[in-house]
Amino acid sequence: MNIVISLILWIVGICVAGWVFRAVGQRIRFPSERLNIYFRDMPLMVGIGFMFGIVSLYFVFHFYFIEKVTFFVWAVQGFVVFAISAWLFLMLGRNVGTQMSRKLFREMPATASFGLLIIIIYSLVAVFAGAIAPYGQEEIFEKINVLPGGDPATGGDPRFLLGTDQLGRDLLSRLIFGAQNTVGIAFLTTCLAFLIGTTLGFLAATLGGWFDQFTSRAIDALMAIPQLIFALLLMTIATAWAGSNKGLITVYMIVIIAVLDSTRVFRLARAVGLNIVVMDYIEAAKLRGEKLSYLIFREILPNAYAPLLAEFGLRFCFVFLTIAALSFLGIGIQPPLADWGTMVRDLSQFINFAVFSPLTAALPLMAAGAIALLTVAVNFVVDWMLHRSSGLKE
């Protein structure tokens, strides 16, 4: 209860301080006229906002320099490093490259360039995982449960920077291979979902009639069940079919999620397709006697490119999160493939050691954070793309 009371006191205090701040600013006559006008027209919330900002800065300072909460220090350092690298990346893009790419980077907000940087890093790690990782993902060593840190005095081992898991596999290698498996599988699934969804959606838009009715109603029925729930139900059946063949479960999962996710793609592709189908150039192409495949691939697809690309980013995030959630629940990507969702589940108990060994507790958060970072990055880029294509200013 104490914590609630002190929280309320803080909020009331900030509000009062904001009001006082504004009132004092309005009384004092500043030498610059702009400042005078600024204070005169300041809404109360802006004053409170200033106070809130100051209090937050104070707390950041307090936790960083005085209390030195390890996780907070890491978070701040990580944030600063990422911010600086995103800024450097933005500067690099603005000054190096062709006219086109430079113009693109000039219009880009910092969040989007951060997202782009992260996506590039992840793809590099995913592609070259075998070369970057010190060991293989299935390699088992005799030392199990080595603590992270690499310092023998605290139970670490310099050969295994992040320690080993309960079977003696190097966690750093598994984290790196996780990029390959988790991101790779999610990417594959999204591509498959788009293949199914756009094909059916464009077909429904161009053919119309009973085909459109049939597919639309079928998709409606599939969408009536929450996606994760339906995926879990189908995975139950898939695991029964796969039996003891663990690799097969992963394949089934890819197909199941792709089919479930293609429903959303279908909706968008059909809606976009319907808008394009009524255009005069489609009419002209039909009168020319073009075939269905020409209509879809040469006339509709190029015009539906922009919304589909943005949707691809969003769908990728959803698929990625669904796969991570399934793996976290123990029914997704199967061992011995290293993946982040499973790693979070296996390492999650370590979080209770946060007081004694922060690095150990950080292990599950690293895997979960790796998932979060990529989805945040993709979302930033998609956000910017949508903003750019819609031309929204406010």
Partner: protein
């Protein structure tokens, strides 16, 4: 007024049809299992006699359509069948387990369903007011530092997996500063306050996930309206910005906002699964995942149906509310 009643009845009918289709879908997918239930219960090395006995016990030698109708009839009376995990037990004990005894799915589901509802209510009670206030503030101070900060923060929390947010909360509020319990062990005879305390962390996690989305939509819905002439008029009259937004823009933005709230509550239904597993919260989501792992088909079927029903119901509510709040939708072209 008669027209509204008709529209709502029409929507309700559609919802019932959807629910029926969904139940068929669930039943059909479960029947895609290799072999059948009997084999699934007894495993690969079962003797043919035992399999046959169970098959007759469960009525598996009947036609699928008959079985589906039996199952549906049972579900309508609140009988979801017998859980596999306890099926053998009740068969040997000779008790009629399907009538609400120890092995029945309904008996397993009932307390957990209440727990899940409790969790959903607590998170909704925190999330809805919070997201409305934040959304209105963000619309009021759009393109300011506050708006940018909220934008980045909500985008990050939407895109993080639920378990990441959950573990971050556990780390800071449960382990480093032990304020809230990290395991939600809930018993039926708990006081309300204690229950609320144990539910707090999972509820906060769900709040974080849902608030971000609702808040963004509230902001977008209000900002969409700001370009319209009557808002321009209100501004030119010299009304202060808060009033313009709260009394002029908000009522017209209500339809999309209600829609988003209902859709997000529907999202809670799915989000609950992962969060319940993280916090070992004794709700339906936890039961569902456990049953999926041991392939306890009747429980999986029942949970799936309940989740789907809740999802459909909330979507239906969203539909009806948006029709009620927007007269234009009452006259479809």
């Amino acid at each position: 007024m008669k027209a509204i009643g008709l529209i709502i009845l029409h929507r309700l009918g559609l919802g019932l049809v959807t629910l029926f289709v969904v139940s068929v879908l669930i039943f059909a997918s479960v029947n895609m299992l290799p072999g059948d239930f009997a084999q699934a219960i007894l495993g690969q090395s079962a003797t043919p006699e035992a399999v046959q006995a169970i098959r007759e016990d469960l009525g598996l030698n009947k036609h699928p359509v008959t079985r589906y109708l039996d199952w549906l009839g049972g579900v309508l009376q609140g009988d979801f069948g017998v859980s596999f995990a306890q099926a053998n037990f009740s068969a040997f004990a000779g008790a009629d387990a399907s009538k609400g005894g120890i092995g029945s799915v309904a008996a397993q589901l009932e307390p957990r369903f209440k727990n899940t509802l409790f969790l959903a209510f607590v998170s909704a009670a925190i999330a809805v007011p919070l997201s409305l206030i934040l959304g209105i503030l963000a619309a009021l101070y759009r393109n300011s530092v506050f708006d940018r900060f909220i934008n980045v923060a909500t985008l990050s929390s939407i895109s993080s997996p639920e378990f990441f947010l959950a573990y971050i909360l556990i780390l800071f509020l449960g382990v480093l500063n032990p304020l809230l319990p990290t395991l939600s062990s809930i018993f039926p005879d708990m006081s309300f306050g204690e229950r609320l305390l144990k539910t707090m962390l999972p509820a906060l996690t769900l709040t974080l996930v849902v608030t971000a989305h609702m808040m963004r939509m509230t902001r977008a819905a209000i900002i969409n309206l700001l370009a319209s002439p009557y808002i321009e008029m209100a501004r030119l009259k010299g009304i202060n910005p808060t009033r313009v937004i709260v009394t002029h823009a908000l009522p017209n933005a209500l339809a999309p906002i209600i829609n988003v709230i209902a859709l997000n509550l529907a999202y809670l239904v799915t989000g609950v699964v992962v969060v319940e597993v993280v916090f070992v919260y004794p709700g339906i989501g936890q039961l569902f995942v456990d049953s999926v792992k041991i392939r306890d088909i009747p429980v999986v079927q029942a949970c799936c149906l309940i989740f789907a029903a809740a999802y459909i119901l909330l979507n239906l509510t969203a539909d009806i509310f948006s029709i009620l709040s927007n007269p234009r939708l009452r006259h479809p072209k």
